[in-house]
Symmetry: C2
Subunit: 256 residues, 2 copies
DNA sequence: CCAAGGCAAGAGCACTGCTCTCTTTTTAAG
DNA sequence: CTTAAAAAGAGAGCAGTGCTCTTGCCTTGG
């Protein structure tokens, strides 16, 4: 599929990659606003109009970079999680969050591209959705594992939020209880509040030891969604149907 | 001071205001990236170079708009708070948060300007700090009132965060205990995570009933910083007592 | 082998931010 | 009241942008 399709096709994918690489370089150096098609073309020794054979517009180039950024972030988070797969749920959660933070600090402009203000009239096409979902799915996975295996506390859920929570549950994680899904979604958004404030400099002269602060904040977030530190907590863990791993499919809505 | 110091000076402030108004119009219509000095000048019937007598560069115009946006948001939050000054602390907190959300939804491009990705090489000058602090100070004030008057729970504070928390306390609110200040700062950042996700469309197809969801999330945030519902604590603050059954399905709905 | 289509190049359009002159108008000092 | 300085507007111009269109070259599939 991707090999030996003729020299021309190979050259095309190669040049496409080169364009993205150079664009990413300029993005990292100057930010999305200063990314110029002409400058990219110049740097690659081609004329600006030639670039339109590969990307029909500047926004399409940006879209490609956005997807790549989501994937890069997703991969960073996933590989960090893989290394902590055996840890406590809270530990897994904070590991993922810290990977997100580290990636964001290492790639501030790419982070701004995906979690900052959306570009002018541009609205992300659906093609970005899978890549954009990776971190979210990862967090869902962490919570799911805790829910199935080692127990999880159920956050409070006011009556007026229940319908919405059940809808979210149906969409995102049909196996998790609605109160956990609702808490998870809000923790998800709040995580990016913390990261964004740090990356965008809002913590300037407010928080100094940001790593420690961040770790604490996301640990609280983990507790907020109901994750528990296994051994040493006074809080009573909820065990789904009290049967451990055997009946994962049947175990939802425990407390009746 | 601002009156009758010559026709020229009056004309200057008037024109300056007109420029900002028109710029704000274009900002709301198209976003910061498409804000063009020439277009503003054109709309005002002046030539582009004349505009440089009022703002030395496009970035300076943006800075002015940023300060105005911060002030506009601050004022919205403050006036909302003033109307709820007698309510429970949690109520005051959610009122302020909801005012922030409402303002952001009503002025998405201005919100993006101040809490989205910072513009290219531009870093906000110190002159923006006072305006930018208004919402933060307001939230501190809410917590302070609760701390002085009606009591407040003290969130947990791990040992390694204590020095940082004490430093933040010294800077921001010397009268509040460090654990409360630390929780407050993280809640502050998380608030903007929630608002940003909604304004920037990240909740698309994830959260539908966003008002209800937001209210619940910021109520949890209030509990996170230690605010209590005075009379009835149907919802115990951020301490899920396990045993899903008991959690007050009845209603929180802190009314007055 | 040879037509078809992918591809690069270049010119050009309508913009942009910004600078520099030049002229007019207003202000303030003598 | 005059006059010199300061402030403001107008216009041309520079270097840059995204994007389109036409013109040819050259690889490729039939």
């Amino acid at each position: 599929m991707s090999t030996a399709r003729g020299a021309r096709a190979r050259a095309r994918t190669e040049i496409t990659a080169a364009i993205k690489d150079e664009a990413r370089r300029q993005l990292a150096a100057e930010g999305a606003a200063k990314l110029s098609l002409r400058a990219v073309a110049r740097e690659l020794g081609m004329v600006s109009s030639a670039l339109y054979r590969y990307f029909p517009s500047r926004d399409d180039l940006l879209t490609a970079l956005i997807i790549d950024a989501y994937d890069s972030l997703g991969e960073a988070a996933e590989s960090a999680h893989a290394k902590a797969a055996d840890a406590e749920p809270v530990q897994q959660w904070t590991t993922v969050c810290e990977a997100v933070r580290a990636w964001a600090l290492a790639h501030p402009h790419e982070y701004a591209l995906i979690y900052g203000s959306p570009v002018p009239g541009y609205s992300a096409p659906d093609s970005t959705v899978p890549a954009a979902s990776r971190v979210g799915l990862l967090l869902i996975g962490v919570v799911r594992e805790a829910w199935e295996g080692r127990g999880i506390a159920r956050p409070p859920l006011p009556a007026d939020l229940r319908p919405e929570a059940e809808r979210m549950m149906a969409d995102l994680a049909p196996d998790l209880p609605p109160e956990v899904v609702a808490a998870l979604v809000s923790a998800w958004a709040q995580l990016y509040g913390l990261v964004g404030f740090e990356v965008f400099g809002q913590f300037h002269r407010v928080v100094e030891d940001r790593a420690v602060f961040f770790t604490h904040a996301v640990t609280q977030l983990a507790h907020h969604v109901g994750l528990l530190n296994h051994g040493r907590t006074a809080e009573t863990p909820h065990r789904p149907q009290g049967r451990g791993k055997g009946t994962a499919s049947g175990g939802r809505r425990a407390g009746s």
